[in-house]
Symmetry: C2
Subunit: 767 residues, 2 copies
């Protein structure tokens, strides 16, 4: 097993054969089914909940309301503003008002239908701009700043004043939509309270260790009386970063008389009650010198956070941090607001706030290039950040910075070189265009949230190795990369390495599977653990051979240790059977460094979490698109992603993240339209919320520009979120190139494109 | 500047513009020209040298013979058997008998013609098998073992006895030719003895520090009174690893009355007196189980070392070490002999002994596959070494071992996938074939020769950096990679990094530019030096700001240092001007680890130098060839090299080494025929010794399988010699695939192929 090897994922076979066990597969006969009644209205006073008829139904074990919730009844990763069961007010249509435990699914369904609510409907707010108006209805009247959750500003250099000195200034006003996570596996889990009062839960989650705290705080339980296990997951994308079923399921278990309980949201419930990518509006002004050097950027960002804060303010922080793209801009004024509305809750989604920012900034770059008569590639080259530059927050980039190299590689790629020829061959009534987009994405939690992992490895009595993963693999393949790293250091075959999935009882806290951090953070910890265990084994072997030799003279081989000078061997199983078991386990701890500017006393005051990163991955994307001028439909013919995420540990898993991220980004850009009307979800399932299928995804070419990141395991950086940031702006720029129109509202549906084309046709404007 | 960046070489512009100064360009008016009279006969007693007429010629400064040589008059890197000027015996036609110093080139030429020799010719030996016969004439009568220089054997497991247990045994008898280094720049240098008795020399050399010792020992001088500088080189390939002009030039300088002296060999002199790749014969028996698992290998290798040992025995050692290819063979018996003859001297040449071994072993693998009905790719897959295996010397591979990955990548490449289709489309009278070859090459000097480097970096008063290279860049581009590594760590732009070329007075000893070691060894040393200097600069900056902060809070930027928390900056120039200059220079030392098996008391007794490596690079090569059945001419249509040399630091320099090595390997395999008759060189220049031109070189596809080598700088391993090992066996296997004939004598000229085809046609044999 070598680093760089395109090893097949450890979980591939079980998943292909359908043998993998997900949380909902842990159902066993006799389990109680639990589920919740949701409010259905967007804003109301909750006068009463009528549960009597449900309770009376044969097979119903319990029906609970807010009154039955022990503890403060407030959940949220950082901002504790969301009830487990709604108390006296409904903030959005997905609010849960009652929890039912029943002997089976059909009884559960019937019981939920028998619950009725007495409500006094209130006027609601459904877009953030209106929500900030003086007399707007308040979503959380007790919130000090009305509907405003956070207002953060970041000024660098002379800020907005620098616009006055620019040779050229372009302006744009962009709107980005919600996006549904649409994971294959909806929110689910099983739980049981044992006779000693300990609660055990297996749940589809990105953050088992943090779930313990969130459940404990919400329900007034000792977090250490809760055990959370994270089996295989069928996708998360940020939608399982924070409690979904957890607190409800824990509450159900508390009332289930020690019987096991299951909760599984169906697709409609997931659409209604799951968090969404934050929709928002971004107003940009970007100024440059005559030669295209960026000089000033002013942005005003306003995000629709929905009914609860969730991690929306942090998403906003990342959007602000990425607002200037991977470019050198010496004067910036970036303002961001996250706002309560009575819409579904906004939260983390692969890319966090970066895709929103890229849609705006990358179109601004093209508009500026057009104004100055520069090629889109050229203006990006001139402004590409390099190591040593300050980013738009004023943080000096001291880590590997390969955006210039990505642009260089893109410029040399046949797809780029042949794009103009390809465009000329467009069929009748179709227009072809090429669109560029540069992307960046931070790695890790940033300056304000401790970002660490703890890995554990054990040599078993059979001479095999158990790797205890403290961090979830929600499908992206990081767990396989952990095995590859440990296998490389311990020199063991895949068959002799077993992965222990996250379990708060067996594994060690390592933070959530999010923020493109898993392989970077846990990998660093794991390398330490593996090297320590290797040394322990070598020492033990030296003892066996009564050798004075250096440890390096003992080589670990698959299931054995060889004393190299003599050629003598002892099996790992024999070594493991010797006394002193404590020598058979090693742990490794890694905490990510923090940008000095963002520490106490540093020059940078970070407003809000999610900002102040010191480590970024970069990419340069190219989309070749064809627009049907009759329907407005955009077809992406081919796509190129050039990526700097440092060293690639497993090219196959790297490639898979690129392909998946771009497919998901094309969905966000072209067809995934999460429609609401006064807080009510109109696109309730996959018949109206359209995901791209394999037929909609073009051939995606991928090239890695492998810089070396000193702080990363084997020189790597995270990249799970990076690729999703490119497709929307690349396609939007391709559309402008093809037809001379700019659509600033996403997704770029046929309807919007057609509108833009006819407006442009009428006005005879642009190009 | 980032690792992984395909940066243009630092020396590219000067070379393309013809502005680079090579040793011969250091000629200045008034220099004395020096040159030698060579024996011309292959074996003789030297009765007398008549130099009077030459001495009397106007403009001749001095004419020297062996009697004028101070000191022992013996040179050689390890084996001191070669005179600076021949004493009483001529061992081969290139032996120098008199050294002339003249005012200009034409006078020098005339004077050399005026020297005559009185010789008593002796019967000679011209092939190593005859040289080992009982009554063969002796090249060095004083040598204890007659014409045998060294006889080494390596037995692993049950050795030859294991052949008896094999299901199948194949046999082969292979002959490999000499090869001429054919560097663009022939051997040359300038030297001067100053008034204080110090000798300064600028010379085209791969080993300036060792040259000092070799000159000192040969001429009885204090090595530390000699300064050797190594300017830019126009190729070395092993032919400048050890003294060429050095001792003669030093002798000339000693007798030149403090005037500067130049010596430049012309092409014919270089052909006659330069070392060659060792020709030899390899008899192989290879046995396997029915499933193709290799079980026993017996080889007898005999090498024609020519008139002097030079590094021939070490080349033989490497040939033996690579005899089994990158395969797992548990029982081996490998015997090697290096033999004196009266032919030109055999010595190191890119690949050392590995290309010779690959020619034999890779054909054996195909023969075995054919016998067992296996695909050539499949038999290689089944036997590919992996980490933890013992190699054929019994050394456990504990370093990165990517041959299986190379084969995997080759198997997925379009060239391989489409090869069978391509073969079917062969034009009339032409036959097409595909040939595979796996290659391996060691990195570094092996177990017996200390393998270290010392790097030095200085911060100059202008705030720039000087990198003192202790190791020569003979054209391969390693020096540019040094700048890239230092630039990465110190975060400086290329323009602010200056390379100081090797100079024994300014730089530190780092061994020769050879053995695929330069970037690996010097890179490791340089990283230490750069990190130390970075820390010194950070400490100095902390002092300036009277800061309590950690050093990490000070970031190096191009020409400046920034205190990240505050944003304050101080220029490197200002820092450099502060007192305590000792803080402005850092050195780094790296010594390569040695395989524990090969250390004192280890299980492996290494016979001869050049063996016992612990680190190897690997490759899998594919040649698609077309044979003209009328002329026997082989045309290589396309070529694929998949390489595991660990992490690639600069893809452009990597690619260049691949392309160059394969072109040179194709010359060795197909057309470079260094012809001798009784020790006399028949192919004396490029009109008869045919190098491949750009028109002869096919499109070469290159893929890197980037494993991570823990001991290497950024995970890299050396690969300068690896690619040259593949073309000859890959083409030979392609020929057998195309026409069903095996040519076991290289190069595979049209004549040999035609002979084989007609013999096969007559016998109607094979296939």
């Amino acid at each position: 097993m070598e680093i760089g090897d395109p090893l097949v994922r450890a979980d591939a076979l079980a998943k292909v054969l359908g043998k993998e066990k997900y949380s909902a597969d842990l159902y066993t006969p006799g389990m109680l089914w639990s589920g919740v009644k949701r409010a259905g209205v967007s804003h109301a006073e909750l006068v009463s909940v009528n549960i009597e008829r449900a309770k009376a139904l044969e097979g119903v074990e319990a029906v609970l309301t807010a009154a039955d919730v022990p503890g403060p009844n407030r959940q949220g990763v950082i901002h504790k503003d969301q009830p487990v069961l709604a108390q006296d007010r409904i903030h959005y249509a997905g609010d849960p008002v009652a929890l039912v435990l029943a002997k089976d699914q059909s009884t559960l369904k019937k019981a939920l239908e028998l619950i009725s609510l007495e409500l006094r409907e209130l006027p609601g707010v459904y877009d953030p701009a209106s929500a900030l108006e003086a007399k707007a209805p308040l979503v959380h009247p007790q919130n000090e700043s009305g509907n405003l959750i956070i207002h953060a500003t970041q000024i660098l250099g002379r800020g907005a004043a620098a616009l006055d000195d620019c040779q050229t200034v372009v302006e744009g006003d962009f709107e980005v939509p919600r996006q549904e996570h649409a994971f294959m596996e909806t929110e689910c889990g099983v739980a049981r309270l044992d006779e000693n009062g300990r609660l055990e839960m297996s749940v589809s989650t990105q953050a088992p260790f943090r779930d313990r705290l969130e459940i404990g705080q919400a329900l007034g339980l000792d977090p250490f009386s809760i055990r959370v296990k994270a089996p295989a997951m069928g996708g998360g994308f940020g939608g399982k970063d924070g409690a979904t079923v957890q607190c409800l399921l824990a509450l159900a278990a508390l009332k289930a008389s020690n019987r096991p309980v299951i909760m599984v949201w169906d697709r409609r419930e997931s659409f209604l009650a799951g968090t969404k990518r934050l929709a928002g509006r971004l107003k940009y002004r970007l100024g440059a010198d005559a030669d295209g050097s960026l000089k000033a950027l002013v942005c005003e960002i306003i995000m629709d956070n929905g009914a609860y804060a969730n991690l929306g303010p942090e998403v906003l922080g990342q959007c602000m941090e990425c607002a200037a793209g991977p470019y050198r801009v010496l004067n910036t004024s970036i303002s961001g607001k996250a706002v309560y509305t009575n819409n579904p809750v906004g939260g983390p989604f692969r890319g966090f706030g970066a895709p929103q920012a890229a849609f705006a900034m990358e179109q601004m770059m093209d508009m500026l290039a057009a104004r100055l008569g520069l090629e889109p590639l050229e203006i990006r080259r001139r402004n590409a950040l390099k190591r040593g530059d300050k980013n738009s927050l004023g943080i000096t980039l001291t880590t590997s910075t390969g955006i210039a190299q990505c642009l260089h590689t893109l410029a040399d790629h046949p797809l780029y070189l042949q794009a103009e020829d390809w465009k000329k061959k467009s069929p009748p009534f179709r227009a072809r265009g090429k669109g560029l987009a540069c992307v960046l994405h931070s790695v890790g939690f940033g300056a304000k949230v401790p970002d660490y992992a703890t890995a554990k490895i054990e040599l078993t009595g059979e001479g095999k190795f158990k790797i205890y993963s403290g961090i979830v693999d929600m499908g992206q393949g990081n767990a396989s990369t952990y095995l590859q790293m440990a296998g490389d250091i311990l020199n063991q075959d895949a068959a002799d390495l077993e992965l222990v999935l996250p379990d708060t009882e067996l594994c060690l806290p390592s933070g959530s599977a999010s923020a493109s951090r898993t392989t970077y953070i846990f990998g660093n910890a794991l390398i330490k653990a593996a090297e320590r265990l290797k040394k322990l084994i070598q020492q033990k072997a030296a003892m066996v051979f009564a050798s004075q030799d250096r440890e390096d003279d003992f080589a670990l081989l698959p299931r054995t240790v060889r004393h190299l000078p003599s050629g003598w061997e002892v099996s790992l199983a024999d070594l493991a059977r010797m006394p002193n078991k404590s020598e058979l386990t090693a742990t490794g701890y890694f905490k990510a460094p923090v940008a000095p500017e963002a520490k106490e006393g540093g020059s940078l005051e970070i407003k809000g979490f999610g900002m102040g990163h010191r480590l970024f991955s970069y990419g340069a994307h190219l989309a070749l698109i064809e627009v049907d001028q009759i329907t407005g439909h955009i077809e992406v013919a081919s796509y190129l992603a050039v990526t700097d995420s440092g060293r690639v540990i497993n090219p196959q898993i790297f490639e898979q993240q690129i392909q998946g991220g771009i497919a998901q980004g094309l969905g966000y850009g072209l067809c995934e339209d999460f429609l609401l009307h006064k807080g009510q979800v109109l696109s309730r399932d996959f018949s109206t919320y359209i995901l791209p299928t394999s037929l909609d995804v073009p051939v995606i070419y991928s090239k890695a520009v492998e810089t070396h990141e000193d702080s990363g395991p084997y020189g790597m950086k995270g990249m799970g979120e990076l690729p999703i940031c490119g497709p929307l702006p690349a396609v939007a720029n391709g559309l402008a190139d093809a037809c001379g129109v700019r659509v600033m509202q996403a997704p770029l549906t046929g309807e919007r494109v057609l509108n833009a084309l006819s407006t442009a046709g009428a006005a005879g404007e642009e190009k």
